[in-house]
């Protein structure tokens, strides 16, 4: 294990905290479900092999934990999932990194400075 838990109590506290996040819910935000489904769908159609996705996910989580960044298992875990997926799709030439970044700029809301109305009054925090 690359991740070291300093004391027994700390591990228990961290697990208790992780158990409190969402005792039953499978996804905490809709994007997690989409990211999950995209990976499974691509494996079902053979665009990627599940084992290679798994390896990409292991690399992603391992790299974070090696530098001491732990995951609570919630949204931060699905960030790793998404990172693993986009990295693999880029490596396989299915969706290039530049192509993805360009599209993100298209779908994203304009930054506040370019928005004449300032902050969206209905804006919610994540």
């Amino acid at each position: 294990m690359s991740a070291k838990i300093a004391t027994h109590k700390t591990a228990e506290d961290l697990i208790a905290a992780a158990r409190a996040i969402a005792p039953e819910a499978v996804f905490s935000e809709p994007w997690e479900a989409r990211a999950f489904a995209v990976a499974v769908a691509l494996s079902e159609t053979g665009q990627l092999q599940w084992a290679e996705f798994q390896q990409s996910l292991i690399d992603e989580i391992g790299a974070a934990e090696k530098t001491g960044r732990t995951t609570s298992g919630g949204a931060d875990y699905y960030r790793h999932w998404l990172g693993a997926l986009t990295r693999l799709l880029n490596a396989k030439g299915i969706v290039g990194g530049a192509e993805l970044e360009a599209r993100i700029a298209d779908v994203g809301p304009p930054p506040p400075s370019q928005n004449p109305h300032g902050q969206d009054p209905h804006g919610r925090h994540k």
Binding site: M1, I5, A11, E12, L14, I15, A16, A17, A18, R19, I21, A22, V26, F27, S28, E29, P30, W31, R34, A35, F36, A37, V38, V40, A41, L42, S43, E44, T45, Q47, W50, Q54, Q55, L57, I58, I61, G62, E65, T70, S72, G73, G74, Y77, Y78, R79, L82, I94, V95, L100, R103, I104, D106, V107, G108, P109, D120, H122, G123, R124, K126
Partner: protein, 221 residues
Amino acid sequence: MSEGHEGHDHHDGHDHHNAPLSEPAQRVKALEQLLVEKGLVNPQALDELIDTYERRVGPRNGARVVARAWIDPEYRKRLLDNAARAIEELGFPPGPQGEHMMVLENTPRVHNLVVCTLCSCYPWSVLGLPPVWYKSTAYRASAVNDPRGLLKGFGVEVGDKEVRVWDSSSEMRYFVIPERPAGTESLSEDELADLVTRDSMIGTGLPKSPARHARESRAAR
């Protein structure tokens, strides 16, 4: 948490943003759009997958497998021999994470505990998707470093039983058949399945006693 997203969700790229999307939500949306345009994913297929794993596949499947194994020694034998096939017998296809599966029997002398130390491998076809804590660094590390302390944290007393920790991988998923609780001789298969909790099939819990189940059902009503 964002809720109530249905009803004003668009897939056409002409959204009016009522709420700014979070950074990962933007990434996923962009990725999905590109894959749809390339003809590699179908948005309806994604909706169906989500519905399947949010609602249809879950620990109720595993509970049925355990209850059958408790009452039918022949089924138990088939389950130990070829878990994926015996699980499919009950109508639960293996799916992407269930092709290589092994069941672990708890006995009066052995308690089994399942973890995935490197990521989050989990027997989806019988348990659905893993709970948040299963994916946490803390659980994945302490299952290996201090399994007895971890079990205590989950309120599981194993006494002097041997604790065996099983590390799941893409080659093999594990799933625990807990010991059948005492005083359940007269229960039906359905009633037995009601006693089998998700955690009891991971090894971080035990099945409910009939008394506890009755208490909880009364409280839920």
